[in-house]
């Protein structure tokens, strides 16, 4: 069988699909506002004339590479290319400002490669098993996952946790805007059609992260003589330092990468959770397990590693319910599913058990794994060229970034309203930064707030005549996340208390 799979894989059209998918995916991921979903839907017509394996390898490559490509602009320009790169932007950009941008990109490449391959291997080895696990999750579980996720906000707050909670609550508020799921009631929309489905994520991100960054930079430039004396930060940064991590560092960081990849795959499997959550979970895992947490947010390379490993593992994870159950684990994989059906590959467990179908599906999965490797090579090749972008004086590059951010914001829904949202959140984000309110919790608040409320109300609808608490108590996975939440909140306090006591003695 292996011989058959390999011979099916190494055909000219398949390799062609691999190369096209990887390069186009990289380009689309880098452009703000473009994402994997758009890339896949644009390229599907291109695949009509190609065979099934070649087409699916092309689309699969697009998916993983677009997710990776966004990390470039996230690291170099604080402009997340897709919403799953927002966590990378946090420490990645700080690293660029410290002249360690090359290391950040190298780390992102390593993490993405590891996560992507891990996801692909999980897919090959235990897809049907993991799919069954995915089915055990529903709204009650998502509610508890969301609550657990909200405790991560505490860890993103730096020195003043109260301010972190404030912005987290702001995120919850932003997430409330729009139609309430269980009753269809419109909240805070003021009859504006554009707000019926709430704020779109990427415009908010581009405002909070990118435009606010531009405004902060402007203020720095206002100091008399700042530019002339070359005191503007980032003006002509010298890029020193390494690119890829050493073998020793790789081994040291391997446990983190494995954990982040596992988390990413699990999140990818869940149809209710997306890649943007994956990157934050990976980031948080890196921080949680670090000895010195204070470096996070200030250019900690492990933060970049955690988020990039997890968000590429999500791609592999999203394939699992897609291929085994025909249930796409994300928007992008939903479009992929149409590609599968167009080429006669009906999703279902039989893809993995029927020998005739195995001859088609296994080359596709291996092709996906190869795409990750190719992506890594391509990334490494262009990284040293792309990094020069950060060397361009800030005042020359800022207008470009502003234009790209606005156009990226526009292209999601072809809407000028979204452009307005970006500009408005840019202003809000600027004040937040000046007043030392962290911006990252807003993003989590939006995603998790919606998940928590929707999960809670759907649980109320699902429980029939049982009591709500009884309903939750009957579900083991809810217990798991409940305990994790308690642990997450109280463990640090308990640890501190124990430390103090042992110091007294």
């Amino acid at each position: 069988m292996l011989a058959g799979v390999l011979s099916a894989l190494f055909q000219w059209d398949v390799l062609f699909g691999l190369i096209i998918g990887t390069t186009v995916g990289m380009a689309m991921g880098i452009m703000p506002g473009m994402g994997a979903t758009m890339a896949i839907s644009l390229m599907i017509p291109v695949t009509y004339t190609m065979g099934p394996i070649a087409s699916m390898v092309l689309l699969a490559s697009l998916y993983t590479t677009a997710t990776f490509g966004g990390s470039f602009t996230a690291i170099l320009l604080h402009t997340p290319g897709t919403s799953s790169n927002a966590a990378t932007a946090r420490d990645g950009y700080e690293m660029t400002r410290q002249g360690r941008g090359l290391e950040a990109i190298g780390t992102a490449i390593t993490g993405s490669l590891f996560g992507g391959v891990f996801g692909g291997v999980a897919l090959l080895a235990i897809a049907p098993l993991l799919a069954q696990l995915a089915l055990k999750f529903s709204s009650p579980e998502y509610f508890f996952i969301a609550i657990f996720g909200l405790t991560i906000i505490g860890s993103l707050s730096g020195d003043e946790p109260v301010k972190g909670f404030a912005t987290g609550l702001l995120g919850l508020a932003v997430g409330v805007v729009g139609m309430e799921q269980s009753t269809g009631y419109m909240r805070y929309t003021f009859r504006n059609l554009n707000l019926m489905n709430g704020f779109t994520m990427v415009p908010v991100l581009l405002g909070l992260f990118t435009i606010s960054q531009m405004l902060v930079q402007m203020e720095r430039m206002a100091k008399p003589g700042a530019i002339e004396k070359g005191q503007v930060i980032d003006d002509g940064i010298k890029f020193s330092g390494k690119f890829f991590m050493s073998g020793k560092e790789f081994l040291q960081r391997l446990p983190l990468m494995i954990r982040a990849a596992v988390l990413g795959v699990l999140i990818g499997i869940l149809p209710g959770a997306g890649g943007d959550i994956g990157s934050w979970v990976g980031y948080n895992e890196a921080k949680r397990s670090a000895k010195d947490k204070s470096t996070f947010g200030k250019g900690e390379v492990l933060g970049v590693l955690g988020s990039e490993t997890a968000n590429n593992a999500v791609c592999g994870g999203a394939y699992i319910p897609l291929l085994t159950l025909g249930i796409p684990g994300s928007g992008a994989s939903a479009v992929l599913m149409t590609g599968l059906i167009i080429h006669g590959l009906q999703p279902g467990v039989s893809l993995f058990t029927d020998p005739a179908k195995q001859q088609q599906i296994y080359p596709i999965i291996i092709g996906y794994i190869l795409a990750n490797i190719l992506m890594c090579i391509l990334g490494a090749l262009i990284a040293k060229k792309v990094i020069n972008v950060a060397k361009i004086p800030m005042n020359a590059i800022m207008p470009i970034v502003i234009v790209l951010a606005l156009i990226g914001s526009y292209s999601i829904n072809r809407s000028m309203f979204d452009v307005g949202v970006t500009v408005a959140f840019g202003f809000i984000g600027y004040f937040m930064r000046k007043l030392k309110f962290p911006t990252a919790p807003v993003v989590l608040g939006i995603i998790l707030g919606q998940m928590a409320e929707a999960g809670l109300y759907a649980s109320i609808q699902m429980k029939k005549s049982a009591s709500l608490l009884g309903f939750f108590a009957s579900r083991p996975i809810c217990w798991l996340f409940f305990i994790l939440t308690i642990a997450s909140i109280f463990a640090p306090m308990a640890m501190n208390a124990i430390k103090k006591r042992s110091l007294k003695v």
């Binding site: 508020a173 009631y185 435009i211 203020e219 100091k223 292209s411 500009v423 007043l435 707030g449 109300y457």
Partner: protein, 147 residues
């Protein structure tokens, strides 16, 4: 000078105002849709109070040290940012009225001049290359209708 408050106090006041408006709007909703926004609004107000308290503490600390509380926003720098922001807003509005490419062709050099880029060739090249690339990728290749 002595009685200057830390900026966190002002931030907290703005937050409370927002929370008040938020809660007022939420009180108009029916029961089920009202619950979560109410929770968020009340929690936000409580956190705002904590921030105001923290701000007062910081102000007092700086009074005892006989320093001015560190003004986080200097007017001179802020003025500059405000003008830059106004430029961005005008650009967004302009896109709506005179369409994307004319607006961008004008915005880029103006913003670069504002940011004190002095090399003329840099300005012209950037403007042309940026617009050219956007046209190539978005309009020609992807065929997206820009505003």
């Amino acid at each position: 000078m002595k009685n200057k408050l830390h900026i966190d106090v002002y931030a907290g006041i703005v937050m409370i105002a927002f929370a008040a408006w938020w809660i007022l709007e939420a009180s108009k909703f029916p029961v089920v849709p009202r619950r979560f926004p109410m929770f968020v609004g009340i929690a936000f107000a409580l956190v705002a109070v904590l921030i105001i308290i923290g701000g007062i503490k910081k102000s007092k600390a700086s009074w005892t040290a006989n320093e001015e509380p560190k003004a986080v926003i200097q007017w001179s720098g802020f003025k500059y940012t405000l003008i830059g922001f106004a430029g961005i807003v005008l650009y967004a509005v302009a896109i709506n009225y005179i369409h994307f490419f004319p607006a961008t062709l004008i915005f880029v050099p103006l913003m670069m001049l504002f940011l004190r880029v002095r090399k003329w060739h840099q300005i012209v090249l950037t403007d042309l290359i940026l617009n050219g690339l956007i046209w190539l990728i978005f309009v020609y290749e992807l065929k997206i209708t820009l505003p």
